[in-house]
Symmetry: C2
Subunit: 123 residues, 2 copies
C-alpha cells in the first residue's frame, strides 16, 4: 500500500504517517523512486499508535512497544516488560481519575438542573 491509502484506511493524515516514521514508530519500505510502501498490517499498527497516544503515553514508550510484527528482533524484553507494566499502572490511575471527573461532571449537571442542591462535598 502507498501512504495515501494507509492514511485513509487508518483515518489519519499523510503527514502523521511521515511523522510516525520519523519518530521510529512505523517502518516503511521504499520504491525505487523513493516512495513509501507499507504492508497491510500498517493500518492496524497505526490504529494502535493512535490509541496509545490517546491514552497519553509518551512517544518514547510507544516507540518501545512494537509487538508481534517486529518479532524478528529478539531484544531484551526485560526493561520493556517493566516499563509496560508501569504504564499499565498509570493507565489504571488515569481511569480512576476519569471516573472521578465523570462524577464531578455529574455534580455540575445536577447543580445546573437544580441550583439548590447540596454541593458541600465539592468544597
Amino acid at each position: 500500500m502507498r501512504i495515501g491509502e494507509v492514511a485513509e484506511k487508518a483515518g489519519v493524515s499523510v503527514r502523521a504517517l511521515r511523522y510516525y516514521e520519523e519518530q521510529g514508530l512505523l517502518q516503511a519500505g521504499r520504491s525505487p523512486g523513493g516512495r513509501r510502501h507499507y504492508p497491510d498490517t500498517a493500518v492496524g499498527r497505526v490504529r494502535l499508535i493512535q490509541q496509545l497516544y490517546a491514552a497519553g503515553l509518551p512517544s518514547r514508550v510507544v516507540r518501545e512497544v512494537p509487538p508481534c510484527m517486529d518479532s524478528d528482533e529478539e531484544r531484551a524484553p526485560r526493561a520493556l516488560l517493566d516499563q509496560t507494566a508501569a504504564e499499565r499502572v498509570r493507565i489504571d490511575w488515569r481511569i480512576t481519575d476519569l471516573l472521578t471527573v465523570r462524577d464531578r461532571l455529574d455534580d455540575v449537571i445536577a447543580i445546573a438542573r437544580d441550583p439548590d442542591s447540596d454541593c458541600s462535598h465539592v468544597q
Copy 2:
C-alpha cells in the same frame, strides 16, 4: 492564604496558580500591596482544575465550569449543561479507550513473557 501556601497544599507550582488566574480559572483577592490571597476553598478548586486538565478537558470548558463557589452568578446554565453533558460523553469514550489500551498492554506483557503466544488479533 497566600499563593505559596496554596501551591504547596494543592501540589502545584506558584506559576501554575498565576496562570490559572490569568486564564480566569481561579480568582484571587489582593492585599493593599498587590499580593494575591485566596480563600480556603481555593485548594479544592485547584485540585478540581488539575483533574479536569488530566481528563483532557480544554481550558475553554474548564473556565465554563465554576460550580458552587461562584453560585452568586445566576447565569444561563443552558449551554453549560449541554456542553458539560457533551464532555461527559467524551470522558466515557476516553475511559473505554483506556480500557482497550490496557488490554493491549496486557497483550504486550503476555507476549514479552511468552514470545510464542498467538497475537493474530493484534494484526
